[in-house]
Every structure is written in C-alpha cells, then in structure tokens.
Amino acid sequence: MIELINVNKSYSGIVKAVDDLTITIPEGQITGFLGPNGAGKTTTIKIITGVLNADSGSITINGTNIRENPLEAKRQFGYVPDNPDMFLRLKGMEYLNFMADIYDVPDDLRKKRIQELAESFEMEAALNDQIQSYSHGMRQKIVIMGVLIHDPSVWILDEPMTGLDPKSSFTLKEMMKTHAAAGKTVFFSTHVLEVAEKLCDRVAIINKGKLLFYGTMDEMRENFRSNGSLEKIFLELTENE
C-alpha cells in the first residue's frame, strides 16, 4: 500500500509540479497513473521512491514513512524509472547480481530467479554482454528484471511498457496481474490509454500536479455518465482544465 497525504512539490518556488496530492494506492489491485505530458506523474513517482524530497506532506509505503525510515521504506518497493539508461558498462548478469546483493537475495534464490526471468524475458543470450550493447527495450527489460529479482511487495513502474516488444509487454502485464492477485501493490504510469483501460482496476488522473479523478473504471464511467472510451473521458477531463 502506498499512501500520500497532502504532498506538495514545486520547482523554483513558482511552478507547482505536485499540488496537495492525497491518494491511497491499495493492495491487491493494479492502479494506473494517467495524465498529459508534464502533468507531474514522474515527479510524484520520484517523490514516492525518495528520489525527490517533497516540500510538505507525508508518504508511507506499507506503513513506513519514506522520510523517517528511508531504508526500511525503500526495501518495500521495486522501482522501474522512465529512463533505463543506467549501469551501462556493467554486464546484464553483473547488474542483476549487484541488485541482488543490495537487496540481500540469498544465493540459491537469486540463481533461480535469474534463470526464470531470463527465460520469460528472452534475455538468456544477452546477460553476458554489457548493458550498453542492449537496445532500448532490452535495457527496459534488464531494469525490470533487476526489480523483480528481490521480489518486492510494492511495484512502482514509470512507463514500463515503452520500448517493449509485444511478447515482453504481454509477459509484464501478466506478471502485474499475478502480483496484484497475490494481494500486492502495483502502481504504474502510462500514456497508453488502451493499456490502462484493459489492465487497471483503478486509475488516477492528474494534470498540473492536481488529482482530477481517482477511482475504479466503473466509477469513472458512472461519474461521467458516459459509455465512451477512457480516451474520450481523459481528453475531456484534461482539456477542461
């Protein structure tokens, strides 16, 4: 569970990137995070993960406050950032083992997971090469694998589907469903409304740092008395701002 209460963040003291955001991302569901470019999605995610400090407000992950008890809180989640260009000069295998060391994954467990993940993401042949030789999609995959290797209870994914081929995208979506079904938390941002519509139990829509809507898909349709697609609702919502 992720809980944000009255979170504020501004750049230069003028532009409000996140404006008094209060939201609870529950367990056992997939929550999608939508909004136009520059709406504050990535900033919010960075605040949740401790990459950015909020100006005010409190953030807890599984009940642990990220500011007061950062290490404990950081162990709860796995984070896939929007840009996977990191640790480029490590080999895929070295990166996975680095993450496993950082998150205290014991020997036999990590071996099993590396094999399983390599197989389901079709990365067996790439793990011996440096990450800089990977394509964008492969980099995305290795970062996702690095997160899954320590099996965190909360998944936080920033645009995880970008650059993935259909099969990997499908695999990831299935994994997200399994994870949520096991009573864990999945929170991800996306631009692709079709994905959100098919995958999410709940959606949060923000624009200019403000939460415009938060609820289940059904609630949304009811709320807007519309049988239209999420796309239509989304466009209406964000344009009337």
């Binding site: 640790f87 070295e94 060391d101 205290d104 014991p106 020997d107 590396i114 067996e124």
Partner: protein, 557 residues
C-alpha cells in the same frame, strides 16, 4: 559559415566549465560562484610568480639585448602545454562528447562539425593560456614599457597561438581514433587509443626538447647571444616554427617589420586551419561513426558462470566492486582516474632512463637515507606525495559528479547514504594505495630503500590517502557537477578535483614542511603524522557521516 556559427553556439551552451548553470531553482548557485573565485585565487600566486620571473628575467636579458628570449620561451612553453592538454581536450570534445550521436544524422559536412568542435577546444585552451602565457605577455609589456600596438598584437597572438599546437594534437588524435575505431571492442580500444595518444604526446615533447637542445652547439649559442639584437628569436624553429614570427611581431610592434611578421603568423594559422579542415573532411568520420557501438557476443550464460557470479556479497563490497568496475571500463574514467596513479611512477622512471648519470646521484641519496636523518625526510615526503597522488586521481573528488543525472539511482536503492559515501571513499583510497605502492616499487628499483622504511611509508601513507579521499568526496558533495554531456566533464573538467588537489597539497604539505624544517627524527615523524592525520581523518569521517549525509540527501537533479 552560418551553420558553423549555429553549431558552435549550441556547443558553447554546454561549455559550463565552472558549473554555474542555474539549477531548477532558477538562481545561479552562490556556492559555485564562490568556488570559481577560490579557484581563480588559487591560480593567482602562480600567475604572479610567472609575471615576476618575467620582470626579473627582462632586467638581466635586456643587458645583453636578448630580452626576446623571454617571449620566445613563453610562446614555446605555452605551445607545448597547449599541445599536451590539447590531446585530452580533442579526445573529449571530438570523440567522447555525447552530442556526436545527435549531430551525425543532421545534414552537416564533417568539416563543419569539426570546425565547431575545434572552436570549443580552442576556448578550453584560452584558459590554459590565461594562466601560462598572459602573465608573460603582460609582464614583458610592463618591463619594456610597450606601447598600445604591442598589447594589440599581443591579444591577436594570444587568440591565434593555440591554432598550430591544437591542430597537431587533433591530427594525432584523429589518426589514432580512426585506427582504433576499426576494432570490435570499442571501449577497450579507446582506452588503448587514449594511452597511445598520451605516450605519443609525451614522446614528441621529449623529442622536441632534445632536438632544440642539440641542434645548436653551446659555442654557437654563445656567439649568437653575444651578437645581441635579439638574435635568439631568429633561430627559433621546430614544429612550432611560426612562433618566431609571433616573437618578431611583438619585438618590432612599432615598425613595419612587426606588422609583416604578425601577418605571416596569422597567414600560417589560416593556412593550417584550411589544411586541417580538408584533411578532417576525409578522416574525422572514420573515428566518429559508430563510436558508440558496443561489442556483444550474445552467448547464453553457462551454469558455472551463473554459479560463480551469483555468490552473495555484503552490500558495501558489492557497491565498491560496482564503482571500480565502472572506473576501469569507462575509457574516460580509466584514463583520468586509474591511469593517473601510474603516471607519477612513470615520471620517476623515465628521466632516469633517459639520463643514466642521475642514477649515481640516487645511489648517493640512498646511502644518505640509510645513514643520516634522510629516512625521516623520505617518510614525510612519501606521505605528502601519496596524499597528493590520491587527489590527482580524482576518484573521490568526482565520485558524486560521475553519477551524473543517474544520481537518482543512489536515492532509491535501500543503501544508506553513509554506506554509499564510504564505498565511494574506499574505492578512491584503494586506487590511491595502488598508486603509492607502484611509486614505491619504482623508487625501490633505483634507490636502495630499506625494507622497514618501505613498510612504514605504506602504513603512514594510508592516513594521507584517507585524508585526501575524504576531503575529495566532501568537496564533491558540496558542489556536485551532475549535468554533463560527456564523461570527461565529470572528471577532467571538474574543478572539484583541482580544488581537492590544492587542499591535499596544502594540508599534507604543511606538516611535511614542519618535519623537515624542525629536523624531526624518524620516529617523531611517524608519530606526528599518524597522530595528526589520524585525528583529521576521524574528524572528516565524522563530518561525512553527518553533514555529508545531509548534503547527499539534498542533491536533486
């Protein structure tokens, strides 16, 4: 021409040498401005002493009417320095810069990109010149009570001087890179290419000094000097042959001869630029296209590989290994941070190999160390040098900067900032120890240093190495340079490294100086160093674990 100006303008936006770019808060950071002033102040004594040497030299040399020598030597040494730094600048600006990838698809001629990049490298060289050549020109101008034309010519020559040495540096780099780019494993070959270019630069330097030293006999030189009339300038030659026109232009600034020589100098520069651009049109892309390609085998990992690599390591160790792997595998970091540790031993060995006579003197020095008070001085000196060498490798002082915009990864990993800082400091220290040991070994080959002294030096130098690593990382936590478009900017063009070199030189230098001046015995030296630096190290580590952690927390990109 228009495209050249646009291109240069865009590249200069990324110049940002002093890290003065406004942050997200929109204001230019005060700390950064103060730091720049401090750095400038640190170079001031050096510039002033160059100036005063020029003034003193003028008084002596004008007696025999050879004051032109000052300008001659000034131009020659500046050209050499520009050439040497040029190799690094060219490698960084022409090849390792990230903008290359986005420039290649644009409808630009190679020579247009080359011209813009050459301009950027020229600007870096102006900073070098400002420190080395400007004091010479100004000092000479004051001493000779020169007129307005002298200063006008001086400015023009200052601006044009880097052209020739930089073109030489570019030509060497382009040939080396064109060749190494053929290789499959680009990273490894770029490392080899970098080392080759550096050795070529050192070798050519040595060759030039030898050539100019022997091409004219002492007798001839004396005869020439006696002629007066600034005849020295007339015999200047070598690869920077056009420098003689520069000197003659300044010496005769009030006469037509001066103008003719200035025109000649500028003409040669223009000619070289044209030659360079047409030569570069053909060869530049050979080194640049595909530079970002990475080799890949795409071979499935074996069971044993999985077994071997998958053994669980403690977090601190895993983090240090990660730091060192990135240092060794990134060509720019390897050259500037790893290789640097071996340059000083090389400096010790090379001159001795070239001039074997000095070997005998070292043997004498060896007996002095054994018998007399020399061992205390050697211990103190080795301590100071090891602290300084550690600061020159820049690993600690760029540890945060090297993360770049990926610093966010340090923030979400569940590793305390204290552990991360410690891991970064330890990776800097480990290379400092390697540097110190290799220097000791190099020295031991030529000097009979007793074994117990070697052991003492190793033990004591740890304290100095720790000090300069801690201070380096503390400086970098204060002024991290995270926005860069090529890795070179994180290590080479990072003033945190320079600042830490100054700090280390001063802090390690003072006790060493005291020990030598007060004739401490070996054991007093040992005790003093261990005590003073033991306390300093503890203090710094304490600051790092409190203030340092807070600073790390506050870093945002």
């Amino acid at each position: 021409m228009n495209r050249y100006t646009v291109l240069t303008g865009v590249m200069l936006k990324n110049f940002n040498l002093l890290n003065l770019r406004p942050g997200k808060s929109g204001k230019i950071p005060i700390k950064g401005v103060l730091l720049s002033l401090l750095i400038f102040a640190a170079f001031l004594p050096m510039m002033l002493s160059i100036g005063s040497i020029v003034l003193a030299g003028y008084a002596v040399l004008s007696e025999i009417r050879q004051e032109g020598m000052i300008l001659g030597i000034g131009f020659s040494l500046s050209s050499l320095t520009i050439f040497f730094f040029g190799i690094f600048y060219v490698m960084s600006v022409f090849y390792f810069s990230k903008d290359i990838e986005s420039l290649l698809p644009l409808p630009l001629k190679p020579s247009e990109i080359l011209a813009a990049k050459f301009t950027v490298a020229m600007l870096y060289e102006y900073l070098t010149e400002a420190i080395f050549l400007a004091p010479v020109l100004i000092g000479y101008g004051i001493a000779s009570k020169a007129g307005l034309l002298y200063y006008l010519y001086g400015i023009l020559l200052f601006l044009a001087l880097p052209v020739l040495p930089l073109i030489y540096a570019s030509a060497i780099s382009m040939l080396v890179m064109g060749f190494t780019n053929l290789a499959k494993n680009k990273d490894r070959f770029r490392i080899v290419g970098g080392i080759t270019a550096m050795f070529l630069a050192v070798g050519i330097n040595a060759f030039i000094t030898k050539l100019t030293g022997s091409s004219i006999s002492a007798m001839e030189l004396q005869k020439l000097m006696e002629q007066g009339n600034n005849s020295y300038a007339e015999i200047m030659s070598g690869i920077f042959f056009s420098n003689r026109f520069a000197v003659l232009a300044l010496l005769n600034s009030e006469a037509l001869k001066g103008f003719v020589n200035l025109a000649l100098f500028v003409l040669i520069c223009i000619l070289f630029i044209m030659l360079f651009l047409s030569f570069g049109e053909g060869i530049y892309y050979k080194g640049v296209v595909g530079i970002s390609e990475a080799s890949a085998k795409r071979r499935r990992f074996s069971e044993t590989e999985l077994e071997r690599s998958g053994r669980q390591k403690p977090v601190l160790r895993a983090y240090i290994i990660k730091e060192l792997k990135l240092l060794f595998r990134t060509p720019v970091y390897f050259m500037n941070c790893v290789l640097m540790n071996f340059i000083f031993p090389l400096f010790i060995i090379l001159p001795l190999l070239v001039q074997p006579d000095e070997m005998k003197e070292l043997q004498v020095l060896g007996t002095y160390i054994r018998d007399g008070n020399g061992s205390a001085i050697v211990l103190a000196a080795a301590f100071g040098i090891s602290a300084f060498v550690t600061s020159t490798n820049g690993i600690a002082a760029s540890a945060i900067s090297r993360e770049g915009t990926n610093i966010f990864v340090c923030k979400y990993l569940p590793v305390s900032y204290k552990t991360q800082i410690t891991a970064k400091a330890l990776s800097g220290m480990s290379m400092g120890v390697v540097g110190t040991l290799s220097m000791l070994l190099a020295a031991a080959v030529f000097m009979p240093i007793p074994a117990y002294l070697m052991l003492l030096i190793t033990a004591v130098s740890i304290f100095g190495i720790a000090f300069s690593s801690f201070s380096g990382i503390l400086i970098d936590l204060n002024f991290p340079k995270l926005i860069w478009d090529n890795e070179q900017k994180a290590v080479k063009q990072n003033f945190n490294v320079v600042l830490n070199m100054l700090v280390s030189a001063v802090v390690a230098g003072i006790p060493v100086f005291t020990i030598v001046a007060l004739h401490f015995t070996l054991w007093m030296t040992l005790l003093t160093l261990v005590l003073v630096f033991g306390i300093l190290d503890l203090l710094l580590y304490n600051i790092l674990s409190t203030t340092g952690v807070k600073l790390f927390e506050r870093i945002e990109v």
